[in-house]
């Protein structure tokens, strides 16, 4: 597990280095084309400035922006004891401090983790997820998110995302700049260089345009490679933490079979953070294309179910090779021999679908501050937070109930 974290860090730094080289190279080429060979470093400065600016923004308020834009609300133990307990269990298993717990008011089942350091991490799950999964499945999902925190994935995905954003932004600015300057037909001011520079300039321009088109594509592929790989590793980590791969497998199956509308608050930027891609409809997930932030869900389920010998990282890697036919996804250093037995199922029977929808509604009301009162006649009253009076009459037995006392 520890070797995995370290190898992960190393690989991420290499990938980040390549991305940084792409960014700076792009800046340099654009500088050459725009300002001529004497002032090419201008491009470098602009590229670095864009990158530093975006990094600063996301470092100072990145997770707050993400949590706010996904409509997540912080919850206490009382709102959903089971969720809270499961998060605590997984933080104990991972040896991490307890993260903050959020519930997203949305019926689509999904979850994500955020926070650059384990000490300031948060885990958010949707009400739809809580209503549908049993205890073991919820544990699997939370363990997956906890593994992201443990592997320091959030930091690297964030950094890689910023790098990608900078590259896209830079090439957009350049291409648009080119477009407008050629539209207006004005003579390019940088062509007033030394004699003989004209042809060179033209060549540079072509190179710059090609770079501006190709760089974002390349960066996308790198970004997706980082993101997909980390999803697999988080699955492996989840199986190891819970000692129960079937929990996560069956949770993923339920999520992929779900027919509720897609998560309203997710967008292209936040999508890689979620446990399953919130933007894709379940049926189209079969495509294993290079431009996806998440591995195909059916494959992730198969790998988890193929883990026969045990729940260690090495067992996952074996199952991965068996399922996909590829070589291992796990860094070599992390494939230490470890004897980790799979435990038995804990949770059993689950509610019917209608009851599940009912539960989801209740969870959302709890998060929104409704007061739940149980009358002596057995009826449960759900009082909205904007109800002004102290007492409420039970509609069935007409008894007057005190709200403030609860």
């Amino acid at each position: 597990m520890w070797e995995l974290i370290r190898a992960n860090k190393r690989n991420s730094i290499v990938l980040m280095g390549i991305m940084a080289a792409v960014l700076l190279g792009l800046g340099f080429v654009i500088g050459l084309a725009f300002f001529g060979p004497d002032a090419a470093f201008f491009g470098l400065i602009i590229a670095s400035a864009v990158w530093i600016l975006l990094t600063l923004i996301s470092f100072t308020s990145g997770d707050q922006i993400l949590l706010a834009s996904s409509k997540a609300k912080p919850v206490s133990h009382d709102v959903h004891p089971q969720l809270f307990n499961v998060v605590e269990e997984m933080s104990i298993a991972a040896g991490l401090p307890m993260p903050k717990v959020y519930i997203i008011i949305d019926p689509a089942p999904n979850a994500f983790a955020t926070g650059r350091k384990p000490e300031s991490a948060s885990i958010a799950v949707t009400a739809g997820l809580l209503g549908r999964l049993n205890r073991d499945e919820l544990q699997g999902v939370i363990a997956h998110e906890m593994s992201h925190i443990l592997h320091r994935d959030i930091l690297f995905v964030t950094l890689a995302g910023i790098m990608l954003g900078s590259i896209v932004l830079l090439s957009q600015i350049f291409l648009r700049g080119m477009f407008y300057s050629s539209m207006s037909g004005s003579r390019r001011r940088y062509s007033s260089g030394k004699g003989g520079g004209g042809q060179m300039q033209l060549a540079m321009l072509v190179v710059a345009i090609a770079a501006a088109i190709l760089a974002p594509i390349m960066a996308h592929f790198l970004y997706f490679a980082i993101s997909r790989r980390r999803e697999y590793l988080a699955d492996a980590g989840a199986a190891r933490l819970t000692r129960y791969p079937e929990g996560l497998a069956s949770a993923l199956e339920k999520i992929s079979n779900d027919r509720s509308p897609r998560l309203g608050s997710a967008n292209k930027v936040t999508a890689p953070m979620y446990i399953v891609n919130p933007l894709k409809k379940a049926k189209s997930v079969k495509l294993s294309d290079l431009s996806s932030t998440h591995p195909p869900i059916s494959e992730r389920i198969k790998i988890l179910r193929n883990m026969s010998g045990g729940a260690s990282i090495a067992n996952y890697s074996e199952a991965y090779s068996k399922t996909t036919g590829n070589r291992t996804i796990v860094p070599k250093a992390a494939l230490s021999k470890e004897d980790v037995a799979i435990r038995e199922a804990g949770a059993k029977a689950e509610a019917k679908e209608a009851k599940q929808m009912h539960q989801i509604g209740d969870i959302m009301r709890m998060v929104n501050g409704f007061v739940f009162l149980t009358c002596v006649c057995g009826l449960t009253l759900k009082v909205p937070p904007n109800y002004k009076h102290d007492k409420v009459k039970c509609p069935r037995c007409k008894k007057i109930l005190d709200i403030k006392g609860v």
Partner: protein
């Protein structure tokens, strides 16, 4: 003059290196101790939950006095345990008594529908899980710590400052080695 400066710089680097490894070892040892205390925290929590559980269930299960007595007795024995082996024996018994109790509960649908009981049940399930995960987490930390003090170069510093290997948590009782199956939800 120049050789002196080179030697000086090298010395400073070595000292910094040693300090760095020493601090890492201290941090790891604290983590090991912390995860050990986490096990105790959870065991204590289990003891605290039991009176509540018995109180809630008593009204519904008048004919199960024997079961309650077994739990209460196992609890007080576990709380009074002094040595580690005594404690692990007593905690094992307590766990067994609780599992039996939860099997009996299946015959009392009224109790199973009680909101208060359900929430205690969730807390108890979670506490059992936390005990198991705390043991698992402790062993992970110990493995990492032991590797660190055996591997080069940290083994030199560990030897200099007497960092000893830590023991893994092992369950002596073969029956208990099976991961506790507490399925009362």
């Amino acid at each position: 003059m120049i050789p002196l400066i080179v030697i000086g710089v090298l010395l400073v680097l070595v000292v910094l290196f040693v300090i760095g490894i020493y601090n890492t070892l201290i941090r790891l040892r604290n983590q090991v101790d912390n995860s050990w205390s986490q096990i105790d925290v959870q065991l204590k929590r289990r003891h605290d939950l039991i009176p509540n559980l018995v109180e809630t269930a008593k009204g519904y299960m008048q004919h199960e006095r024997g079961t309650f007595e077994a739990i209460t007795e196992a609890r007080s024995k576990a709380m009074g345990a002094r040595t580690v082996s005594e404690s692990s024996q007593a905690e094992g018994n307590l766990q067994e008594a609780l599992s039996k109790f939860m099997l009996v509960v299946e015959n009392y649908p009224d109790l199973k529908a009680n909101q208060n009981f359900l929430s205690i049940q969730e807390e108890l399930t979670s506490t059992e899980n936390k005990i198991a995960f705390a043991r698992q987490g402790y062993n992970d930390q110990v493995l990492f710590f032991n590797n660190k003090i055996q591997m080069f170069p940290s083994n030199i510093i560990a030897g200099m400052f007497n960092f000893g290997k830590r023991d893994f948590f092992e369950i002596e009782n073969a029956a208990e080695r099976e991961v506790p199956k507490v399925s009362f939800s």
